[in-house]
């Protein structure tokens, strides 16, 4: 088991290194550079100023030299400075990461808390009225555009009823504590939860339905195991393996954020930050943000692998010799 984890961590390091080069290179391949963006914003910028600033920011160097410079500094713990936000990268990322983690983890927990019972319930009586209703709701959730849902919430709860703030993170002038932030979280969390419930419910329903057709379920029933035991202890446990995979794959998004929801609710998370940094040619933020998302996706997959063993004792990480 330890060996398995060590090998996976080593693989993750290699993936991160390759990804860092690819991301840096891809951003570098985009037309224009930060100074071009400055020229657009300021037509009076003279050619000599543009050349001076390119040299100052190191943009006159070849892309691979810039990448190696960045890598050397990063290995010494210096992740650089955000050109767009005028702050060190870590200082920018830390609060954004926490905000995104808070928003998306609450949404994920809520979505799973609602999707699992719904999926199980639908699977137990396929093609029934309940199943049809659940499916309908699921497809509605999957189909609804998050920005539209967000706007609907804002109009209903902020403009018409006036009971929730239309956006932001906390009251202006407040201390930003959790109690203050709670009202500001309601609509973004509700939006994200509602748009992800559908997908999860469908996965749970399909997985449980599949398990309920298995022989061991018939055997369990024949042995007199209660219906509750059959569904929740036997079928659901086995059905969770594909669900865990899906959740693990989405783990990276916990850190890369939810762009549309963040933008609609003026929520300061990772999604908008990474998006802006790519468009604004802010290499340092974009690179570290995307690497973080990669790292978390890898970590999510590792956890999923470990989770499989917990869910199914037949899965083992020890090598078998024949």
């Amino acid at each position: 088991m330890l060996r398995f984890v060590a090998v996976r961590l080593l693989q993750a390091l290699i993936v991160l290194l390759v990804m860092s080069f690819l991301i840096y290179g891809l951003i570098g391949l985009m037309p224009g550079d930060p100074i071009d963006l400055m020229i657009n914003a300021n037509p009076n910028l003279s050619p000599s100023d543009a050349a001076r600033l390119r040299a100052l920011y190191g943009l006159d160097l070849p892309i691979w030299t810039r990448y190696l410079n960045w890598l050397a500094a990063a290995l010494q713990g210096d992740l650089g400075y955000s050109r767009l936000i005028s702050q060190p990268v870590l200082e920018v990322l830390k609060p954004r990461l926490l905000n995104t983690l808070l928003l998306l983890s609450i949404s994920l927990v809520l979505a799973l808390a609602i999707a699992i019972p719904l999926g199980v319930h639908a699977a137990r009586k396929p093609n029934s009225v309940t199943d049809t209703a659940v499916n309908l709701l699921c497809f509605a959730g999957i189909s609804v555009p998050p920005f539209w849902l967000a706007l609907l919430f804002i109009i209903l709860f902020s403009v018409t009823l006036g009971i929730l703030p239309a956006g932001g993170m906390a009251p202006i002038g407040g201390d930003g504590g959790l109690a203050e932030r709670l009202p500001y979280l309601v609509m973004p969390v509700a939006t994200l939860t509602l748009v992800s419930i559908g997908g999860y419910t469908r996965f749970v329903r399909a997985a449980v339905l599949e398990q309920l057709r298995q022989d061991y379920i018939r055997t369990a029933r024949a042995k007199g195991v209660s219906e509750r035991g059959v569904v929740w202890r036997h079928a659901l446990r086995n059905a969770m393996i594909p669900v865990v995979t899906i959740v693990a794959l989405g783990f990276g998004s916990l850190f890369s954020g939810a762009l549309v929801t963040e933008t609609m609710f003026a929520y300061l998370g990772m999604g908008k930050l990474i998006y802006d940094s790519i468009l604004g040619n802010d290499y340092n933020i974009a690179l570290v943000g995307l690497l973080l998302a990669t790292l978390m996706t890898l970590a999510g997959n590792l956890l999923a692998d470990l989770g499989y063993a917990a869910l199914d004792p037949r899965i083992s990480f020890t090598e078998t010799r024949t």
Partner: protein, 567 residues
């Protein structure tokens, strides 16, 4: 089964209860307006990247800083140059500006300014010529990261402190704009010198404007920044050391809401009072908002110096013929576009000089919508044969042009479609091929790779001499490192001379004929097709008064102390 239902119900009930609890809590926290009328909440669609006045130019940063700082000189709402931090504009007539000859024989000019006697930084330190000298030192340092160092490092060859409050600017050559130091934005020597001297190359990352943003000593306007939540909002409170008219609002909050639909919802819910034209909604969004909610808000449109136009690549053999250029303009109904798409709020442009500019002349050819005349002119130019609705010349060449603009800009895409249809009627095939803004401006325009036409806007200052976009030395080429913004490749010796002469012709009555002739050349040659002057749209609450949009790049917030609540 019953237990399952119970479990499902419990899950749903828990979710609902959480939302209900949070809603109830929110109701108690945000019930009533966010602020009393002592406060003004302004919505902005961007958050400033830096708060340093001379690093990176960004509309929102300037808008905020203009409440907390003042330039020496600026253009007012009537587009007249005025003093803000200085007491009086230097003048040749009064002797505060003197024509001189430099040791190398160059004809030049020295201009003397005096700082407002009561001017102090927010921490009580007086503003002196030490700050002026330090600002110049930082500005001209090649490593300081100041964006526009041209003025500091090249245009100004020296600054002399006469006393604590008076200083003289020594310009590199004689120039009529000697009295204008709009971009000489003062830095506090007593706070910033240690940071700068520690390592000039790191100054841009260590300036107190970004590491200690609420330090009162950084500001000297009616307000000072007291709180910054990066990416979310900036709080400004009255500056007790402000020497001018006392502002009315105790506190101003500039909130960032990047999504325009969310911005509208915030306006309607009362969480944002005011959206300023400089940093807010586009004109079509404002028009739509006014239609829906016009009774609750005062929506003001101010045409300005954003000159929307279509650059024509003059190297293109089709566009090299001025008759084709004129026909292109006569074939489009700009009045109808302005009326239908912008409710007439964006006036049609006939040239690049705005009618509000004092040097605007009406004495130049104009090209109103006249499809018959356009067709006639195309035929004169050899585009006689119509095949499949498209004109061809005698050699069988199609009258076909590529038309580019910024992808994703809804207004421009809509205008493109209208123009394409109107040109089609005249037998001109136009192929739309848009690119993201960063691609269009990052390489296509900068390296003159656009094959035919490109629609975008120029922003200029009042009385701005169009050297960078019309002078032949400003055509970007590989040899000059693609410097300059004369993307069309316009080269006209008479226009070059007029531009050179305008820079040294200071008397209005002498400059006016030169300006008139330059506008005539532009209209005769049509290096680009003028479309309209874009308007800024201000959505203000009915109780707010005193806000006067400027229409140029210097923000209305420079007069924030005149803003009042009627209630």
């Amino acid at each position: 089964m019953a237990k399952d239902r119970t479990l499902l119900g419990t899950g749903l009930r828990l979710g609902c209860a959480a939302v209900a609890l949070a809603s109830a809590l929110a109701g108690t926290l945000i019930s009533g307006p966010a602020f009393a009328k002592d406060d003004l909440v302004i919505g902005a669609i961007q958050f400033p990247g830096t708060f340093h006045p001379s690093i990176d130019a960004m509309a929102t940063k300037n808008y905020i800083l203009d409440m907390a700082r003042r330039p020496f000189t600026t253009f007012d709402q009537d587009w007249k140059l005025i003093c803000m931090l200085c007491t009086e504009l230097p003048s040749l007539e009064k002797g505060t500006a003197v024509e001189v000859t430099r040791p190398d024989g160059t004809r030049a000019i020295d201009a003397t300014f005096t700082i407002q006697p009561g001017a102090t930084w927010g921490n009580g330190n007086p503003i002196t010529t030490k700050d002026v000298l330090f600002t110049w030192e930082v500005g001209k340092h090649p490593q300081s990261g100041i964006t526009n160092s041209q003025m500091f490092a090249k245009d100004i060859v020296g600054v002399t402190a006469v006393d604590d409050k008076t200083f003289t600017i020594h310009w590199d050559k004689f120039r009529c704009s000697y009295d204008s130091i709009n971009d000489f934005l003062l830095l506090p020597e007593h706070l910033e010198r240690p940071v700068f001297e520690a390592d000039p190359s790191q100054y841009r990352t260590r300036t107190l404007y970004d590491t200690d943003r609420t330090n009162p000593g950084l500001y000297f306007g009616p307000y000072r920044i007291t709180r910054v939540e990066s990416g979310a909002y900036v709080v400004l409170e009255q500056n007790p050391t402000w020497w001018g008219e006392k502002p009315s609002f105790k506190r101003i909050v500039v909130r960032t809401i990047e999504n325009t639909s969310a911005m509208e919802a915030n306006l309607l819910s009362g969480e944002v009072d005011f959206v300023a034209g400089e940093v807010g909604l586009s004109i079509e969004q404002a028009i739509a908002f006014e239609k829906r909610n016009g009774k609750r808000f005062n929506v003001v449109y101010k045409p300005g110096l954003f000159f929307e136009h279509i650059d024509l690549k003059l190297d293109n053999p089709i566009l090299a013929d001025v008759r084709v250029r004129r026909a292109l303009l006569m074939a489009i109904d700009r009045d109808a576009i302005s009326r239908q798409l912008f409710e007439g709020k964006q006036p049609v442009a006939h040239g690049q000089v705005n009618p509000l500019d004092r040097y605007y002349s009406d004495d130049f050819p104009k090209y109103p919508f006249d499809p018959a005349a356009a067709v006639k002119m195309l035929e004169e130019a050899g585009w006689k044969e119509l095949r499949g609705g498209i004109r061809h010349d005698a050699s069988g060449r199609r009258l076909s042009l590529e038309f580019q603009s910024t992808a994703g800009n809804r207004t421009r895409e809509l205008v493109q479609q209208v123009l394409q249809a109107q040109w089609q009627k005249a037998g001109i095939e136009v192929r739309i091929n848009n690119q993201p803004a960063r691609v269009l401006f990052g390489s296509t325009m900068r390296e003159r790779q656009f094959p035919g036409m490109a629609m975008f806007a120029w922003l200029s200052a009042p009385e701005n001499i169009p050297r960078t976009i019309l002078h032949s030395t400003m055509i970007p080429t590989p040899e000059n490192g693609f410097s300059g913004q004369n993307y069309v490749g316009f080269s006209n010796p008479e226009a070059d001379k007029l531009i050179d002469d305008l820079e040294v012709t200071c008397k209005e009555d002498e400059a006016r004929p030169l300006w008139t002739r330059l506008q005539q050349i532009y209209a005769e040659q049509l290096p680009s097709l003028p479309l309209y002057f874009r308007s800024d749209s201000y959505i203000m609450p009915l109780w707010l008064e005193g806000v006067r949009p400027t229409g140029h790049q210097y923000a209305s917030s420079l007069w924030v102390e005149q803003w009042r609540s009627k209630q």
